[in-house]
């Protein structure tokens, strides 16, 4: 299945586009990095130097040795992995049902799922507090997980449905004829083909749990249980933010995301379905 070799111009064009956007992508983050190295807690700099004068890693070492950063990291990793796992399982099942079965209320269900995303989060603060109190979810990771999974699911289900939709039904039919049960036709034939979708679902669920702040601030009332975004918010105060720590923490927070993406993204670019569908 060799592709014909691309002309040099096309390849050059690819590099040009990617390079330009790579620079645009990292420049603001380099500024954040520069804040984290800057002594004296300043958000703004009056010059454009990337490495500030008198730079130091003081913020990073303070973060790791003096602040409970590693504890927050652990909490966040735990919550985010569990949410990712639950989200992927639920969305891969739910999306499959919506893609393949014409059951009563299917359209309504899809729309209802979508509507949950339409309400501005601002107004949810008050009822969420009441709900969290009534369900006794204060200070539990379980409480966080329920909210995160339900926040991530609508997108994930729709996304998975979209992926299943691109997989021809003939594949399952063939598997059923070969003697597969409904469940194993799904897990053995369809699921492997939907890996790119699963990766996106996983990444999205992970990010939802990883960066969420508002619900966490309501559920967690004990600093030992803080997740990273809550911990980082500790450094922010109106008119007296600790910019060095804030920036350093933000940089460190994004590293696991990059790692997760790096691991998962090989399934996004490997051309998995090559040759799977010969109709």
């Amino acid at each position: 299945m060799d592709k014909p070799a691309e002309s040099r111009w096309i390849s050059l064009l690819r590099h040009a586009v990617l390079l330009l956007f790579a620079i645009i992508s990292i420049y603001p983050v380099i500024t954040v990095m520069s804040i984290s190295l800057r002594p004296g807690n300043q958000l703004q700099s009056t010059d454009l130097s990337i490495i500030p004068e008198n730079w130091s890693f003081a913020s990073y070492s303070q973060l790791i040795y003096e602040e409970p950063f590693l504890r927050w990291l652990g909490n966040s990793l735990l919550v985010a992995t569990l949410v990712t796992f639950t989200g992927v399982v639920m969305a891969s099942f739910g999306g499959y049902a919506l893609s393949r079965f014409k059951f009563v209320g299917r359209q309504t269900t899809m729309l209802a799922i979508l509507t949950t995303q339409m309400f501005p989060a601002t107004m949810l603060l008050l009822p969420l507090y009441i709900l969290i109190a009534k369900l006794h979810l204060v200070n539990t990771f379980l409480g966080l997980m329920i909210f995160y999974v339900s926040t991530a699911l609508p997108f994930c289900i729709w996304q998975m449905k979209g992926f299943y939709d691109t997989i021809p039904i003939s594949l399952e039919e063939a598997a059923r004829i070969d003697g597969c049960s409904q469940m194993s036709a799904f897990t053995l034939v369809i699921l492997p083909l939907a890996v790119p979708g699963l990766v996106i679902t996983a990444l999205f669920s992970f990010m939802t749990a990883w960066s969420e702040y508002i619900v966490a601030a309501q559920v967690l009332q004990e600093s030992d249980l803080f997740t990273l975004p809550l911990g980082i918010k500790n450094f922010q105060a109106s008119m007296s933010t600790q910019w060095g720590l804030y920036a350093a923490a933000s940089i460190l927070v994004s590293l696991p995301v990059v790692v997760v993406f790096l691991v998962l993204s090989k399934y996004l670019v490997s051309g998995m379905t090559l040759g799977a569908v010969k109709e």
């Binding site: 500024t31 703004q44 454009l48 359209q107 799922i113 509507t115 329920i146 691109t166 997989i167 409904q182």
Partner: protein, 774 residues
């Protein structure tokens, strides 16, 4: 096939389950409360980092003396503490104690979420505290008694002048001297139009910082009646604003764009000779290397002979109205400990703030410390910050007009008159008692009727429901867990909001709200700004989503080919999504700064200047440098740029995933048919990307429509002049600045319905619920 299934092979499956088991155990242990029979008291505070260190130390001391108690201190940012406490107190999960400035107490008291501390502190002698430090308000029950709502551990929170002794030997005592010193210290040695040093800086955009100018000119936010009646259009106010403008425009001693962070950075890096800032910041300046900071009282206004008087207020502890008697007793014990002489002395030493107890004002440490002495001098001519709820409406009305005055879009008189008009309107909105009082049963009946109609309308589907479950239980089984989770968390908040939107919940009816009907909805549509903001929101959504998708798909296509360095590109391009938006949004804001921002510097540098100075570009945006943060249209553009940046990696990932699902055979076939690259893209790539992109685009549009954070952070809450708003940030302001919960809920419902209709239409058109192959 074999290749593909090995990814989900049996080996990895079993390890997955082991992992899950392990994780569940971890969660269990996370849920378990510490085996601890100490009585816990929770405190939400908003102390600055330095203060938290002392707080922790004092808590440790208290717990050592009282081993049966545990104080759980949680930091919350000022606004978040306020909005969070209101909601949490009402839900019954609030902290026993809150710590903060006194200006919110009027509102808390009206809402009934703080309680009288008198009964819990019989030993407290008001005579021991500085005049005005303890906050008393009239009780609700017409008995004429005054309830004690806050016991402070400090008194001040006031502005003063901080100057750099490297540049200024003795601080100015009059504004004429201030201007003279300012002119001496405003330098542009290389004549490039960018100043190396400014005479004076301060948080130019915030009205709180304009108060000393007002008082120095003989004005005040309220009139002399003793009632909280705004007096913002007095001629003295206009004189004060003219004076502020003259510092920038006539004398040129302050920078053009100067918010809190800019002022702070300029002073800390020795690029400003003087700064006006509050007592929370001084200790930091005294320790900053490279400058030699000292504090002095603000000068006397030369034209009037009156001193510039900042607002002063106590900061302290208040008791949640819903705290149980047992926990309230412990909480108060802690409060008395924290406001005792010993504790306050420690705070004064570490933080350079003034104590609230009289006895400590004679303390040798205070009388020998130059900073504290200057602070005390400044405090002596300060003016008490009112605790009336109306002050919030005053700030809210002042901010936009003050900013448009600074932007040169209004004269001092016009701005002052507009402030007065808006503050009166805001106060009226905030304190409005509900008028409509239609009985709740009408609405219950209506609700039942609507449900009934739906049932009758959908009776066929409902009748088929049970047989259908029997027919294909597998489908229902797959979808049920997800649906249950989603609706568990969303159903209650949703219906609660429907109720609120029909109710009169507001500052004055916070706990005893009742259903009043459609009044809030009428108000939503009669708001002048509604349609302008809606239009802005639509532009915001369309432009953002367009660029997200266009850039995302383009990058995905570029990276999805035979190309070197894929991994590196992939990592770099994902970065805007990976780094938390709450910091990158602020970074973008500073990149748009007039003098120091990268965007303006880039725009005027070669080769980009070739583009930006071309005639059509100038016609579109004007010529560089651009006043991004000061001009409403440019500010809005800046918000969009920042949000496009934040959003394209996500779409790129989605598109990348979608591209994997497209069989190569289709491209081969297209090539054989003689299709060129563009035709391949149009006829193969796009149609097959569609099912994957549709959910992302639909949801992306919804999220963008409701994206509060980016607009709020980049525009610093709607600057300039409160013009940079989309609907959600407008809701946020209405609810949290003016306590209009009912109105906010109604506006949210309107947003909800608009999005619902729009999604219905677009889904109908894209047929996204249908299968592409089917």
């Amino acid at each position: 096939m074999a290749n593909a299934s090995s990814i989900f092979g049996r080996r990895s499956k079993s390890s997955c389950f082991q992992y899950l088991l392990l994780a569940v155990l971890c969660v269990q242990s996370g849920c378990q409360q510490q085996e601890d029979d100490r009585q816990v008291v929770t405190l939400w505070h908003q102390m600055v980092p330095r203060g938290r260190v002392v707080l922790d130390r004092l808590i440790a001391k208290f717990e050592a003396e009282n081993p049966e108690y545990h104080i759980r201190a949680l930091y919350k940012e000022t606004e978040e503490l306020r909005s969070g406490f209101q909601a949490a107190a009402l839900a019954g999960v609030g902290p026993e104690l809150i710590y903060g400035p006194s200006d919110v107490l009027g509102a808390y008291h009206t809402m009934g979420i703080v309680q009288d501390m008198n009964a819990w502190a019989p030993s407290l002698n008001p005579e021991d505290f500085t005049e005005g430090a303890l906050t008393f308000l009239p009780s609700h029950d017409d008995s004429g008694q005054r309830v004690l709502l806050q016991i402070p551990d400090r008194f001040g929170n006031h502005l003063a002048l901080v100057y750099n002794r490297n540049f200024i030997s003795s601080p100015p005592t009059t504004t004429d001297e201030l201007i003279a010193l300012g002119i001496q210290n405003t330098l542009d040695e290389d004549q490039d139009g960018r100043f190396e040093r400014y005479g004076l800086v301060w948080n130019f955009v915030e009205p709180f910082f304009a108060i000393p100018f007002l008082t120095g000119h003989g004005a005040w936010v309220f009139d002399d009646s003793g009632e909280p009646v705004p007096a913002l259009d007095a001629p003295e106010c206009a004189a004060a604003y003219d004076f502020i403008l003259s510092l920038r425009d006539k004398h040129g001693i302050v920078p053009r764009n100067c918010d809190y962070e800019t002022a702070d950075s300029l002073f800390k890096s020795g690029k400003a000779a003087m700064i006006i800032n509050g007592d929370w910041s001084w200790a930091d300046y005294l320790e900053t290397k490279g400058i030699d900071a000292a504090v002095a009282p603000l000068p006397v206004v030369s034209a009037t002979g009156k001193p510039m008087a900042p607002m002063v207020s106590p900061k302290g502890y208040s008791l949640n109205a819903f705290a149980t008697p047992e926990s309230a007793a412990v909480a108060m014990k802690f409060v008395l400990f924290m406001t005792s002489e010993g504790a306050q002395r420690e705070l004064m030493h570490e933080l350079k703030i003034l104590p609230s107890r009289k006895s400590l004002h004679m303390d040798p440490f205070l009388t020998s410390d130059p900073t504290l002495l200057a602070s005390k001098q400044q405090l002596a001519n300060g003016r008490m910050m009112p605790v009336d709820t109306e002050l919030r409406a005053v700030w809210d009305a002042m901010r936009p007009h003050y900013q448009s005055l600074l932007g040169g879009n209004a004269s001092a008189q016009e701005a002052a008159a507009a402030m007065q008009r808006d503050s009166i309107r805001s106060i009226e909105l905030m304190n409005r008692k509900s008028t409509g009082d239609s009985a709740a049963w009408i609405w219950q009946l209506l609700g039942i009727l609507i449900c009934g109609t739906l049932v009758v309308w959908q009776r066929k589907s409902l009748a088929n429901f049970i047989p259908d479950i029997r027919r294909q239980p597998f489908a229902y089984l797959l979808v049920a867990p997800a649906l249950a989770t989603i609706f568990l968390t969303i159903a209650f908040p949703f219906f609660y909001n429907v109720m609120l939107s029909l109710s009169d919940m507001s500052l004055t009816n916070f706990q005893d709200w009742k259903i009043i009907g459609l009044a809030n909805y009428l108000e939503v549509f009669s708001e002048n700004k509604f349609f302008t903001i809606l239009l802005k929101t639509l532009i915001w959504t369309v432009v953002n989503v367009f660029f997200h998708v266009a850039i995302g798909v383009m990058l995905a296509m570029a990276i999805n080919g035979p190309i070197r360095g894929k991994t590196i590109y992939r990592i770099l391009l994902i970065i805007p999504w990976a780094v938390p938006a709450y910091i990158t949004a602020l970074t973008w804001r500073s990149m748009f700064h007039f003098d120091y921002g990268a965007v303006n510097l880039l725009a005027s540098s070669w080769p980009i200047s070739l583009l930006t100075t071309s005639s059509w570009f100038v016609a579109l945006l004007g010529s560089p440098p651009y006043n991004w943060l000061g001009d409403p249209n440019l500010m809005f553009t800046a918000c969009i740029v920042a949000n496009v940046w934040l959003g394209y990696p996500f779409m790129m990932v989605i598109a990348l995933g979608g591209l994997q699902g497209i069989p190569q055979e289709l491209y081969e076939a297209a090539r054989i048919d003689g299709a060129n690259r563009f035709q391949q893209f149009r006829n193969v790539t796009l149609p097959l990307l569609k099912p994957v992109l549709v959910p992302a685009v639909t949801l992306g549009a919804i999220w963008t429509f409701n994206n509060l954070n980016v607009v709020w952070l980049v525009s610093n809450g709607g600057e300039p002049a409160d013009e940079t708003h989309i609907l959600v940030s407008f809701v946020y302001k209405a609810v949290f600045n003016l306590y209009r919960y009912g109105y906010g809920a109604a506006l949210s419902m309107v947003i909800f319905v608009m999005l619902l209709v729009a999604s219905l239409i677009s889904l109908q058109r894209s047929r996204a619920t249908e299968n592409v192959y089917g």
